[in-house]
Symmetry: C2
Subunit: 159 residues, 2 copies
């Protein structure tokens, strides 16, 4: 009975998010060998410093880089936003440990309810540390939805 109730709650949560039965977004193994779309630094004067501070890089899989060029991201395209702590010494801001790895995976069938993208966040860049589970779909999409005209992607490739 308790077990059944638990299942009902999970199903209910899924339905309230408008989600399909959950399709976990795979960890993006090997992303550090992918092309970097761009990088940047968020410093202590930024209002979101506590959550977003540090060096970040956006990486694109081969399919994702095609998507930036054509404007249409094919299924299988993966984008990674990696946020690193920083270590500052003698005027050099260097890379520190990973704070988190955010992933967008293109699958128009599995993630139809969120623009064809599956979202996930991995704390510390660790495969075992899923931050959001199914909730990533709404948590991330709420903001990415504003970029509908750009296939829900904020970034663009550098000149």
């Amino acid at each position: 009975m308790i077990r059944l109730a638990g299942i009902a709650v999970l199903l209910g949560a899924g339905l309230s998010l408008g989600a399909e039965p959950e399709s976990p977004v795979p960890f993006p193994h090997g992303y550090r060998e992918w092309a970097v779309v761009k990088g940047g630094l968020i410093t202590p004067t930024h209002p979101a410093y506590k959550a977003e501070g540090g060096l970040h890089y956006i990486y694109g899989s081969k399919e994702a880089m095609e998507g930036y060029r054509s404007g249409k991201f094919p299924d299988g395209a993966v984008l990674v936003y990696e946020l690193l702590e920083t270590r500052e010494s003698a005027g050099i801001v260097a890379e520190g440990p990973k704070r988190r790895v955010d992933v967008m995976t293109r699958d128009t069938r599995k993630y139809a309810a969120t623009g064809g993208w599956g979202f996930e966040r991995f704390w510390g860049g660790k495969e075992s540390e899923r931050a959001t589970g199914g909730a990533a779909q709404t948590m991330c999409f709420t903001c990415h939805e504003s970029q509908k005209a750009r296939s829900f992607v904020f970034s663009s490739v550098r000149d």
Copy 2:
């Protein structure tokens, strides 16, 4: 007579650098699709800020990434150090235009006199703007020579 003298001067310069007949280092087309070895920011408090300030990235060709792993860089490996101006706004340090692109190309035959690496610098990241020509060989190698035990490479791959 003047023309001959000019040639003699060029040959003399080549010999004084211990160089082979010059083998220009090719421009590293497509390097922005390569893996990033690491990145960082050099800020105004750094003593070499005027020359080195900005966001930098080190990129490695596929062969170069093998070299980082094995400790032996195969011929054809290419490393790129890209230095960008920065644009700062509301606490975000973003990428600006390219300041320069420095290249190391592995060819143990052509560049035997400088540890098997050919060096070049391209101002503004432009193929037409070679900074150093043949002089890059000594100009860059003077410093890289200190890393002989590490195949003359300063950087190492991130964890």
